[in-house]
């Protein structure tokens, strides 16, 4: 037991591991200490002093930082402690733009909840009006500094988890603000639009750039044929917005809700995920056979793509030229489907529901318009879909299950697992043997690439070829892996990279779970379970078995990787300089 110490918290004896904090020990004892800036594994800097406790020292100490020690006596509740926490919170609130009624985070705001939990009745301080400008020039992210409480969670996630470091606390005194260098709009920085800052933020200071009104407008426009597609990870988390337990798959209810919102067709992006596997698998096989550029790196994650364009411009040729699945789907809808159904492609409006904020930026890339029209017209996040469902007054929880529309709603289990880290790799490795030998592999599941390790590797022998594969999620991990590849320290044939830690299930557009939940359970694992369940229960588990995809090739595309595919389903990338000199902003 030498690895444990015994301390007392509020008179209760607790055994806690050496090196843990008072906050963690209190949790073990079932004692709640309020926190605000603390987010486990992301932001452990003791900035807000909301968690102060009495450890018998001269002054109150932050429980989230204070280490346990043998014999330590801790008090978590006393008049002095309550007063200190209240003063801290009232000071934060005094300069906070308190517009809860119209705030995106109302009812899911950690600051609002804390104010109620601490029984704040009155704010005794007059705060200076801040009136910082809102930065809403990015296609993906909106920053409203007037609602920022300077907890720095966004800074930490951007700097240490994603290694993008597009934002910092800048300036001093009451002008302190989280911003990009030279107060540049986020749009002009190396920000990759991943939205991990949004899901880390306790308040309404960060949100996605909303496309809801544009989608309502399209739905109300009788000239338009409005098609919606939903990414695999959406169904694994949407239920949380309606109070269902984390990890509840809600595919049927989601489809039903979308039909009630009056989309003309409700399709599954998973179908296009299967199509992606055919294209990307073929690309891999060709590169291996013809001594092409290796490793091949997946291109489904637009946050990762922009990161690569900024930070690994020398490796752009390693990227798969495949568009991300929803963009492929959009291109197919405005070509194949339009022709088949006799609809003018200019009248088709494609909405993608994505767990991702980076896909908003992606959909605005001018090169993603194979038919002359944008492949995808608008992207909304899982959160925005929930808002629309609520706004329409739909009783989500009690909806009957419905099925995706034919003929583009069919998908395999392989397409579904795209939503979890390792999923694209696993789906590809299920099909590569077929692409090489015409036979299905005996083993369907490839567990080595599943799970929450930051970097996972696997080796697989197919038709006498050894394929070395690696999977990284979270851009910090991606950077680590790629630096090894760049230096030649490691060699691989195939690498999957997802910008968000955990992959799409914990994407920046997913329902926001507060620190109180994220500090306790691993969201990624819980949501991924829903995804793997759907795969296990699928009758088809290989992308190349998807009859819709087979029809795409027979009726329209010809061969995977063929001429028509290239026209519609592939793209190219550009080198992006970090802070190009010409965006020196005018200092005023």
């Amino acid at each position: 037991m030498s690895d444990f110490v015994t301390l007392t918290i509020d008179g209760k004896e607790v055994k806690a591991p050496v090196g843990s904090t008072v906050l963690e020990a209190a949790k073990l004892a079932g004692i709640h200490i309020p926190t605000l800036c603390y987010l486990k594994g992301v932001n452990e800097i003791g900035a807000c002093r909301m968690c102060v406790v009495d450890v018998g020292a001269k002054s109150l100490q932050a429980a989230c930082m204070y280490p346990v020690a043998e014999g330590l006596k801790v008090v978590t509740n006393s008049p002095e402690i309550r007063e200190s926490r209240r003063v801290t919170l009232e000071l934060i609130l005094s300069s906070h733009e308190k517009k809860c009624l119209s705030c995106v985070r109302s009812r899911n705001c950690e600051l609002q909840k804390l104010a109620r939990d601490l029984n704040i009745q009155d704010i005794r301080f007059e705060g200076a009006e801040q009136n910082f400008p809102i930065d809403d020039l990015s296609h993906s992210i909106v920053r409203d500094p007037n609602k920022c409480i300077l907890c720095r969670r966004c800074v930490s996630v951007c700097k240490y988890i994603q290694t993008v470091s597009a934002i910092e606390t800048v300036d001093r005194g009451y002008k302190t603000i989280v911003a990009s260098p030279f107060h540049m709009p986020l749009r002009d920085t190396p920000c990759v639009n991943c939205g991990q800052c949004i899901v880390a933020c306790p308040t309404g200071a960060l949100r996605e750039k909303s496309s809801i009104e544009k989608v309502w407008d399209a739905l109300g426009n009788e000239d338009l044929y409005v098609i919606v597609q939903t990414a695999p990870a959406v169904r694994a988390a949407l239920g949380e917005e309606f109070g269902l337990p984390i990890g509840t798959p809600v595919t049927g209810k989601m489809v039903s809700a979308l039909k009630k919102l009056k989309f003309d067709k409700v399709f599954d992006t998973d179908t296009a995920a299967d199509l992606t596997i055919m294209e990307e698998g073929t690309e891999l096989v060709n590169r291996i056979k013809n001594n092409g550029k290796l490793p091949l790196i997946t291109s489904c994650s637009p946050g990762w793509i922009k990161f690569c364009e900024h930070n690994f411009p020398d490796m752009l040729d390693n990227l798969s030229t495949c568009k991300s699945p929803h963009e492929m789907f959009g291109a197919m809808l405005k070509s194949y489907y339009a022709e088949k159904m006799g609809i003018d492609p200019s009248k088709i409006f494609v909405v993608s529901v994505m767990p991702c904020t980076a896909k908003k930026f992606e959909s605005k890339r001018s090169e993603l318009a194979s038919t002359g029209y944008p492949d995808v017209d608008e992207v909304i996040t899982t959160r925005e879909l929930a808002e629309m469902i609520k706004e329409a007054g739909i009783d989500f929880v009690n909806l009957e299950d419905e099925k995706f529309d034919d003929p583009m709603g069919e998908a395999t289990g392989a397409g579904v697992i795209f939503g979890a880290t390792g999923g694209v790799m696993e789906a590809a490795l299920r099909s590569v043997p077929y692409l090489l030998t015409g036979k299905d592999p005996e083993q369907v599941e490839i567990k080595a690439v599943r799970g929450e390790d930051g970097i996972k590797t696997a080796e697989l022998e197919v038709a006498g070829i050894k394929i070395r594969a690696a999977v990284a999620h979270g851009l910090g991990n991606a950077r680590k892996l790629l630096e090894k590849v760049r230096s030649g320290e490691e060699t691989y044939h195939f690498i999957e990279i997802m910008a968000c830690p955990g992959g799409c299930v914990t994407g920046g557009g997913q329902p926001i779970q507060p620190a109180s939940v994220r500090n306790e359970i691993d969201l990624r694992t819980e949501r991924a379970k829903a995804i793997y369940q759907e795969d296990e229960s699928s009758t088809m588990r290989f992308s190349h078995h998807n009859p819709t995809v087979q029809k795409f090739y027979e009726e329209y595309l010809g061969e995977p990787g063929g001429h028509k595919s290239h026209e519609l389903l592939h793209t190219h990338y550009i080198v992006r300089e970090n802070y190009p000199e010409d965006c020196v902003c005018d200092p005023q």
Partner: protein
């Protein structure tokens, strides 16, 4: 602006500084200090070069530059005007002095005139409270000021410049 004409030699010096500090802990602040000595201020191009050189993000550099009062994002003028906003001076109306300067120089506190002649800043107590309100122009102290004194003082510097040409 003045920086560009002799950029090359300055840039070379900057690179030497970066090379000297590279790999040492806490290098950023001393490098910024030395860079400011060369350039007089820390424009974006300089901060960018330091970020790349020390392998930290521009956001990190900018955060540090804007946190410490000794770093400046704006060039400083040939004549650096500092108006004391310490308590004694403030009580005796140094705010109005600052406003007057800002009005006739057409710049805000923290900025520099287009011709590079004057920069205007507020500072803390300079230890001449007996003379409050106080301002300094380079090393010269001006005390017991009223806003009406300001145009004359500025004119005397402009005249000095005109003679020198």
């Amino acid at each position: 602006m003045g920086v560009c004409c002799c950029k090359d030699s300055k840039e070379q010096k900057l690179d030497e500084i970066i090379a000297r500090y590279k790999g040492t802990r806490g290098a950023l602040i001393p490098v910024l200090h030395e860079a400011q000595e060369i350039y007089g201020y820390l424009p974006m191009s300089v901060q960018k070069r330091i970020a790349e050189g020390l392998n930290v993000s521009l956001a990190d550099v900018y955060g540090v530059v804007t946190f410490y009062t000794q770093f400046s994002l704006e060039p400083k003028g040939k004549y650096k005007i500092n108006v004391c906003l310490g308590t004694a001076c403030y009580v005796k109306g140094s705010g109005a002095i600052l406003d007057k300067l800002s009005q006739i120089l057409k710049i805000k506190s923290g900025q520099c005139t287009k011709d590079g002649l004057f920069s205007l800043d507020a500072c803390r107590c300079v230890g001449a409270c007996g003379l409050a309100p106080v301002m300094m122009i380079n090393d010269d102290v001006y005390g017991r000021l009223t806003p009406d004194d300001i145009p004359g003082i500025i004119k005397s510097y402009r005249d000095k410049e005109a003679e020198a040409v």
